[in-house]
Symmetry: C3
Subunit: 165 residues, 3 copies
């Protein structure tokens, strides 16, 4: 009986990562990694521009329509190429941030994503956005789940810590 209660009370953190900004994605992954370390079940649901954090950094040749090609070219390819939400200064801001991250022995965004995978954080790519923006599974990194808003809600409604970033 007590065991059942403990199972039911398993803590859960579910984050919608909507933003394609380096700093906001860092915040999302720092909270996710912290929650996983404190034994939460953690999901990051990547939607809209947040999917860019999961793109492979090389060009993957796939067939697409014209608009989808445009989106593919204009959006950053992978976590390391994303800009800042503030003080981006045409790319100088991200360089400054990465410099202080190294200096203080903190983790870069790609390192935070690797850590999340090691801690079994569930990384979900929103299939509706992929369809809209013309992103295909071959263009995204390995180890992802593919799902829609129903699956997001299934995770979110089970826990207290729900964030939209």
């Amino acid at each position: 009986m007590e065991e059942m209660n403990m199972t039911e009370e398993k803590k859960r953190t579910t984050i919608v990562l909507f933003s394609g900004d380096y700093d906001k994605a860092m915040a999302a992954y720092i909270i996710a990694n912290g929650a996983a370390a404190y034994d939460h079940e953690v999901t990051i649901f990547h939607t809209f521009w947040g999917l860019n954090a999961l793109r492979k950094d090389e060009l993957v040749p796939v067939k697409k329509g014209f608009l989808e090609q445009m989106f593919g070219k204009m959006m950053p390819r992978g976590a390391d190429k994303m800009g800042l939400s503030k003080m981006n200064f045409a790319g100088m801001g991200p360089k400054m941030i990465k410099h202080v991250i190294k200096k203080h022995n903190a983790m870069t965004l790609p390192e935070l994503i690797d850590m999340a995978k090691e801690q079994d954080v569930k990384l979900v790519a929103c299939t509706m956005t992929m369809d809209l923006l013309g992103l295909q599974q071959e263009e995204l990194v390995h180890g992802l789940d593919y799902a829609g808003v129903a699956a997001y809600l299934g995770d979110a409604e089970k826990g207290n810590v729900n964030l939209f970033i």
Copy 2:
């Protein structure tokens, strides 16, 4: 007794829509419509720039002070006129998004808002913001509730899924 428990455990999603961006409002309404379909009680509390999604698209002649007129003119009139949070490109971004939405038979923001009304999602306009920005009830679409932060908290504290968008 069991019925009472079920009533108490009714799932609830409460979203603060602060943003006036087309893409963020889309995300808010997609989550809200999904939650309503999965039998949550859903509230979207529109505050600050999020109120623009609820403006009528025609000019409504109402008396206002000078600053309030300025705000009224500078802010987009209705969901269809809102810009993107990323890649807005002076209005070309929203056109591209609307184009891919049509192409993929997805729903535009005005259609998502209509669907939310049909599903009895509670759409609230923040009266404090209306007062500050000089927006009047005649300028907003029909079928809204008018309330402040106390009413928001009353809904939010009853459920797990709380988002600020």
Copy 3:
């Protein structure tokens, strides 16, 4: 027995303030003050650009590296100097907002922060961000807690109303 239950069910609102925008910080503090008035335990965890709301408005002479000095100079010093997330217009937007706030007898951001302190809202400065951006305790206002993501999660997981702003 009943008393114990009531203690366990104490309502709680925990807000991550990531944004350095005047309007978003206003929204965070309005919700926080409302929740405190309705007897929630409330925490605002200031991280990344959200720390700027807590900076003293005068220059505090402290030793820092070059990049940290740059960040210190480029970021706004205190709540009153922050810009808007929309319609900032090189600083004209914040002036308009402050004008309508006064006109409608609403509270400015510095006043909202003072009220939060009076209502015992726990204001936390994220130590990881302070380290990264080179902000030191002498540069921030009095009455803050200093903590990291573990302390944030400790508060967040106890309550329903969790927001990332």
